[in-house]
């Protein structure tokens, strides 16, 4: 039973969002939701319900550090599709489809969204392209019937939903699924010995172009350094007019 886990290298979310930081200067890390997906795949393997966990990412050579970190968590091997363009979710989904066709996993696991783009689309799009069942925003997953289907608990706005999906399937993970294991330097050293396969879109016989273009980015109106208000009325007025948050 092979599980394919996809992950993305993103700027550290805390550093990016902090007043003194920005996405451009922040350190790169594995997308936290994808880390949760990797962790879940590892636990499934530790339970004896999967035999091979393969990692997959799309990015330039600079993301190699994140690939090593992912392998260090415990992947059997990893694939990097070399591409340095700003791709959009649909382009990514199409590339993933090509790799899935080659690798033929029974389950594809990934984080529900990347914390830089916050689109929350790739998993669902991939499922649509493949015609596979999907379980999104899961907080619990149980393999059933000899690893041929899974019962998933999904987190929704209203509470929880439990669904069952047959394999092969796409599963996207939410925050409460697990807490990923910490990887220290020696783990990273051991990871150097595991193979990373590098491919390009050409190798896959693919030509994909993004259809989304970011033309500008900016900070939302800056938080002024703390103002004391004297009355409730003043507070409400400021929230409505100045901050425009209610």
């Amino acid at each position: 039973m092979k599980i394919l886990v996809t992950f993305k290298s993103v700027p550290d979310p805390y550093e990016s969002a902090a007043p003194g930081g920005s996405p451009a200067t922040a350190k790169s890390v594995i997308n936290p939701f994808d880390e949760i997906a990797i962790e879940e795949a590892l636990r499934i393997r530790e339970r004896g319900e999967a035999t091979e966990i393969v990692g997959l990412t799309i990015g330039p050579a600079a993301v190699e550090e994140q690939v090593r970190a992912a392998i260090a968590m415990g992947l059997d091997r990893a694939i990097r599709i070399d591409d340095s363009r700003a791709l959009d979710p649909y382009a990514i989904a199409r590339i993933l489809r090509a790799v899935v066709a080659k690798e033929a996993p029974e389950v594809v696991l990934m984080g529900k969204q990347a914390v830089d783009d916050d689109s929350n689309q790739v998993g669902q799009m991939l499922a649509g392209l493949l015609g596979w069942p999907q379980a999104t925003f899961i907080s619990k997953i149980e393999f059933l019937q000899n690893q041929t289907r899974a019962r998933c608990t999904r987190e929704t706005d209203a509470g929880l939903e439990i669904i069952e999906i047959p394999f092969p399937a796409i599963v996207t993970t939410d925050l409460r699924l697990n807490e990923p294991r910490y990887v220290s330097l020696p783990g990273l050293m051991k990871a150097r010995k595991k193979p990373i396969e590098v491919q390009s879109c050409d190798d896959l016989g693919l030509k994909v172009e993004p259809r989304t273009k970011v033309v500008a980015t900016e900070r939302p109106p800056k938080r002024s350094a703390g103002v004391r208000v004297e009355t409730v009325e003043e507070l409400v007025a400021k929230l409505k007019e100045e901050a425009r948050v209610i």
Partner: protein, 660 residues
């Protein structure tokens, strides 16, 4: 009186003497064989880890083995051990002297020497028996939970008591059948009293036969005592001094470094198999005699966590007796994570076992194998990515100094002291007041100092305690580079953990500095009258000694001087203070772990503080400040208590001085 003496082996025929010696020889051979089995286990470990300096051995043996420094306490256990120890040592020395006199070239066993010898042996014999009786009483009636109750303990006590009793019986019967006359008889006072009271009317031949029987019982008991020594706690009379002498010579607050080469060689970062420990550590496991003092002092045990330092040692000891194996199957992960590394156990241990090193070595393996997750993992990741466990951008390092004119290494390059703020005082809003207060005090006292600002990054202490040794070394090397570049030689810091790391651990990587905790420098400034600690308050006040300042680094006088404790009628001492201080719960990386309220160590300490009746609680550590503020606010009677750092208190007193 010059001729006072007695016959040795008087009642024992030469052939019986041979049997006796053969038996004793066999008993010691059996003992030696068993000890060799233990030694084989220790030797299975790869690295020795012993101290090799014989001068250190002698010094330690004198202080901890002979003078029993760690044993002395106001308790029944300490008293009975003193009696047993002194009794056993004196009786053993006595028997040895007798053997030398009897078998050696010159027989000195007569005259005044003999009389004093007899009296001494009798007095210590009584002490010994008294010790045995007290031990039996304590074990049977007091039943302290941490003592450990094994059948072998009763065996040992029975043998020891019987030895004491039969020893006096042998003496009494000998005196009876050899008809020792007064006043010589009076010197063997116990035997004489027994003879006069119990053996009156007994005829000599009967007395002689009984003497022989009791003598053999005593002899066999001696044989049994030594033959079974390794299977009960008595083993500690050998392994204890061995560990006391040879355990590593490292400061209490310094954990042992690890090199990448070692990791590459063994494939592990810590201890997974029992024999990954050092030989010295394995020996120390055998030195434990289950006194339970470590457990009694442990804050984790006291707060209901699944950790007892004694259980860790005994569980590993048992694993060793089974030949070794995977430590994580014997000791749960939760047990290892529960430790605050306060070193109370290490401080209490009479045979100098290093429990904290054992735990940290096992933690290193957990971290290396990816068995750490959740908030502490996040803290480590943040140390790696943002250079501080709080995850704040390092660029915000001087946010606490807003509004204050703080000299930096750029604005005051000729500084004398580097004021190392530490991550807690830099980013924790409550602790930022410590940094501000200290800066104001240093400025007022005219001290030449500077801060590193953005160049300051985490010392790596939480990483080392949680078990990521390499993250720690990365931080250490980076900081040492910075300190070198900025030509720092003197450091003052308000955080005892930073202080400990600079003082005891950075030297492992080539960083040598003159380090002071801020309490030390402030006390000096007060003594030099550059600051005042005069105050008019009559609020009752108490002090919580930080573990890493008072116990691990021996500084408990300075914080008291800063708050003027000795001259303050309203100062109260908490029962557990100074080196015996009780942890606030934040050490060992626990600051970053999730804990249910009923399990929090700080609640226990807060209750102790509230019981003093103090309305102000002074601390000298930003973590203690955080933990005790929380603890007091949640403890009945403590909600109104002010919790302050000594620097904040001292600054208040400067203002009052100005007001006058």
């Amino acid at each position: 009186m010059d001729n006072a003496t007695r016959e040795v082996f008087g009642n024992i025929a030469p052939s019986m003497q041979l049997v006796f010696f053969a038996m004793i020889l066999a008993s010691f051979a059996w003992l030696a064989w068993q000890l060799e089995q233990h030694r084989r286990q220790w030797r299975k470990a790869r690295r020795p880890g012993f101290t090799r300096d014989w001068r250190v051995w002698l010094e330690r043996l004198a202080i901890y083995a002979a003078a029993q420094k760690r044993v002395h306490k106001k308790s029944l256990g300490a008293l009975l051990h003193l009696l047993l120890f002194s009794g056993f040592v004196v009786l053993t020395i006595g028997t040895t002297l007798l053997a030398i006199a009897h078998d050696g070239p010159y027989d000195f066993h007569h005259g005044w020497y003999y009389l004093i010898y007899e009296l001494t042996m009798d007095v210590f014999g009584v002490a010994f028996i008294l010790g045995c009786l007290l031990a039996i009483y304590r074990r049977a009636f007091r039943k302290p939970r941490s003592l450990g109750h094994n059948w072998s303990d009763w065996w040992l006590l029975s043998v020891l008591l019987s030895l004491g009793v039969t020893g006096f019986a042998v003496e009494a019967f000998r005196m009876h059948y050899t008809q020792v006359p007064p006043p010589v008889a009076h010197w063997s006072i116990v035997g004489w009293l027994l003879d006069r009271t119990l053996l009156q009317g007994l005829d000599v031949p009967t007395a002689q036969s009984i003497h022989l029987a009791v003598w053999w019982v005593h002899a066999i008991l001696v044989g049994l005592l030594f033959a079974t020594l390794p299977v009960n706690r008595f083993l500690h009379i050998i392994t204890g001094p061995l560990n006391i002498a040879t355990r590593p010579d490292r400061a209490m607050g310094a954990l042992a470094p690890l090199t990448i080469e070692e990791v590459e060689e063994t494939g592990r970062t810590g201890v997974a198999e029992l024999h990954d420990f050092t030989q010295s550590q394995l020996l120390s496991l055998d030195a434990c005699m289950e006194c339970g003092r470590c457990e009694d002092a442990c804050p984790a045990t006291a707060s209901g966590k699944p950790l007892s330092p004694k259980a860790v040692v005994i569980d590993l000891q048992r694993l060793m007796s089974l030949g070794g194996g995977n430590v994580h199957q014997t000791i749960q992960d939760e047990t290892l994570w529960a430790c605050t590394m306060c070193q109370a156990c290490v401080q209490e241990c009479p045979v100098l076992i290093g429990h904290v090193d054992l735990i940290d070595d096992m933690r290193r393996d957990l971290v290396g194998e990816g068995r750490l997750a959740g908030p502490p993992a996040r803290a480590l990741q943040q140390i790696g990515n943002q250079s501080n466990p709080y995850g704040r951008p390092n660029a915000e390092r001087l946010a606490w100094a807003e509004g204050l004119d703080v000299p930096t290494v750029d604005s005051n390059p000729e500084f004398e002291y580097l004021f190392w703020v530490g991550c807690a005082a830099s980013f924790d809003p409550r602790a930022q007041k410590i940094a501000r207060s200290t800066v104001e005090l240093l400025t007022k006292a005219g001290v030449s100092f500077a801060v590193l600002g953005r160049e300051e990054t985490c010392t790596g202490d939480p990483a080392r305690r949680i078990g990521d040794e390499f993250l720690f070394q990365e931080r250490a090397q980076a900081n040492i580079e910075t300190l070198k570049r900025r030509k720092v030689s003197k450091i003052v810091t308000p955080c005892p953990h930073c202080y400990n790391t600079f003082r005891n651990e950075y030297p492992q990587f080539g960083g040598h500095y003159e380090v002071r905790h801020h309490s030390t420098l402030l006390a000096e400034l007060i003594a030099q009258k550059r600051l005042t600690n005069q105050h008019k308050s009559d609020d009752p006040i108490t002090l919580h000694d930080p573990c890493y300042l008072a116990r691990v680094n021996g500084e408990s006088a300075a914080p008291r001087e800063v708050i003027g404790a000795t001259r303050d009628k309203h100062y109260r001492e908490m029962p557990r203070c100074g080196k015996k201080t009780f942890c606030c719960g934040a050490g060992g990386g626990r600051m970053w772990f999730e804990e249910a309220p009923e399990e929090r160590v700080s609640r226990l300490r807060a209750a102790e503080a509230v019981a003093t009746g103090a309305k102000t609680l002074a601390t000298a550590c930003p973590f203690c400040l955080n933990m005790m503020s929380d603890g007091m606010a949640g403890t009945p009677g403590g909600e109104q208590t002010r919790v302050l750092d000594i620097a904040e208190l001292l600054l208040e007193r400067q203002s009052r001085e100005l007001e006058r």
